[in-house]
Amino acid sequence: MMRETLVNVFLFLLLPVTALAAFALDEPFIITLATKAAILALAGVGLNIALGLGGLVSFGHAAFFGLGGYAMGILAAHAQSYTPIMESPFLIEGTKSMPIIWLVAIVVSALAALLIGALSLRTSGVYFIMVTLAFGQMLFYFSISWPAYGGEDGLSIYVRNGFPGLNTLNPLTFFAIAFAVLALVLLFAGRLARAPFGLALSAARQNAERVESVGLAPFRLRLVAFVISGAVTGLAGALFADLNRFVSPTMFSWQTSGEIMIFVILGGVGRLFGPVAGAALFILLEHVLGGLSEFWHIYLGFLLLMVVLFARGGMIGLIAGREVAHD
């Protein structure tokens, strides 16, 4: 079996095993950490579709993370206060049902990605990076100054949202939900990479001229990738806000965009399970190192620097070696 497959299996089992062990040892906090890792990994998987597969350095993915979070926050806030979001021309009420919230989060993020992508993808290189950053900033400042949903203080949701048939207040149950979503998305992302779309998108990353010369349009490929990528990250945002029962403008910040990138890079950009490895490592560092020193970001910084300078393939690259060209 290829080494990368072994690593992937390990990473896939890591979170559920951790959660189950924590459950057995009656450490609900660790279950929550595993859940957080799964959700952040999901955000990273979303970014990886644009970044790893498509080569699009988006420094504004927090825009989608935040939109997903606020989709949840707004729907749940209106549900918990029993006031409709809109009365005319249609009646739109809030909801605390996860499947509906997820659907809204995905649709809103996809639409935003369509708009942002259509504008940003007309630029390239450093301009693209800056434009995506700018859109993230726009949403950040907007959410701070719009008073209706908490502004700078953010919005609290008193009770976790519901999933039909399940007790979502139970940490292990919520972990299972988050992990199931992650597993499904990983399956989808894996298939996407091997599908015609993935072949063409990755080719466009390597050589756009070649893709054009076979009659495929890089812009269209990248836009679709950006939309899918934004939708997945938006879904992660909704789950994240649900985990914390809190959504705030920080979800839109450029630091958040940077962190999502860090998960992807630490694990290995372009590797399917890279974000899982990266998110798990990040959570580990945050809680282990963070417990030892309040300045743990310095260590994160050095680690990131070392990975970028010397371990281009991230953790998975170090362990599993150079990516084997498949088929």
Partner: protein
């Protein structure tokens, strides 16, 4: 909206603009000559401010504080250029973004480690405190006028440097064709370190000058960094002229927007709604401006395709 208030806000916009220019000029030089995206520029701004605050507190001299800011930032710049940055010139943009982002983490937490989380204070020197009466009877803080003056003087100095000196020629040649100037025998390593240190010094100076008006604290550099990137994207990467015009545009848009937009909305909304809508739009306005410019000129006003 009185005329006096308008003039005051315009001057504030110009002042904010010239400080942004100091940041943007360094960024655009570094990108133009070395092809490097440097997110750590905000950290160098912060280093300058902290150095100034520390030296001012120790010696009581603002002038020494400014010198310290220049020196500390330039030194920090040289240090990171020689250890980390020079490994990034041949890398792709993603690697540069991540590595310099890592440096933000290191600088910010490092500063917090040494100086703590509470802001430091840097006082405007007594000689420059207080208002000045401008033609027309308008009162305006002397210090801010001095900042405008310093900023414009540096702009002029940079233009002269680029246009008239040997270093300037090397810089312009380096922007045009990196490989060629190496082939022509220019010491690339030294040139790059010099350009980086120059950019760092400008950032540090800006940090110190602005630190006296706002506060000196960890993380002060990042909002300015992002604005500076917006400036060079609007102005066109690699163009100092673009950096100046872009900086003034952004400074004015930001300052005037946050004052004028709420007033504008007050015409058809009640006061508190007008303020919130107005301020939201104002803070987004710079990014809307940038998006607008890029739609018509994808490489900025004065950039090359």
């Amino acid at each position: 909206m009185s005329f006096i208030l308008l003039v005051e806000q315009v001057l504030n916009g110009v002042q904010s603009g010239v400080m942004l220019f100091l940041m943007a000029a360094g960024l655009t030089l570094i990108f133009g000559v070395m092809g490097l995206i440097n997110l750590a520029h905000g950290s160098l701004y912060m280093v300058g401010a902290f150095a100034a605050a520390a030296v001012a507190a120790a010696t009581g001299s603002f002038l020494l504080a400014l010198v310290a800011a220049l020196a500390a930032a330039a030194l920090a710049g040289c240090l990171i250029e020689m250890t980390v940055i020079r490994r990034l010139y041949d890398r792709d943009h993603l690697d540069q973004v991540l590595a310099t982002f890592a440096m933000i983490l290191i600088f910010s937490e490092g500063t917090r480690f040494f100086f703590g989380s509470f802001p430091l204070f840097l006082d405007i020197p007594a000689a420059l405190a207080g208002p000045v009466t401008l033609p027309g009877g308008i009162q305006y803080p002397l210090y801010r006028l001095v900042i405008i003056g310093v900023g414009l003087a540096i702009a002029a100095g940079l233009f002269l440097l680029i246009a008239r000196t040997r270093i300037g020629i090397q810089i312009r040649a380096g922007e045009a064709d990196r490989e060629m100037i190496a082939a022509l025998g220019v010491d690339i390593a030294k040139l790059y370190t010099l350009v980086f240190a120059l950019g760092a010094a400008l950032a540090g100076l800006a940090g110190a000058l602005v630190g006296a008006i706002q506060s000196v604290q960890v993380g002060m550099g990042e909002p300015v960094l992002i604005l500076a990137f917006v400036v060079i994207v609007i102005g066109g990467i690699g163009s100092i002229k673009g950096a100046l015009i872009g900086a003034l545009l952004v400074g004015l848009t930001d300052t005037l927007g946050s004052v004028l937009l709420p007033l504008f909305f007050a015409n058809f909304m009640e006061a508190s709604a007008a303020t919130s809508v107005g301020s939201s739009l104002a803070s987004m306005s710079i990014y809307i401006l940038m998006a607008g410019v890029l739609l018509f000129k994808p490489t900025g006003l004065f950039g090359e395709a």
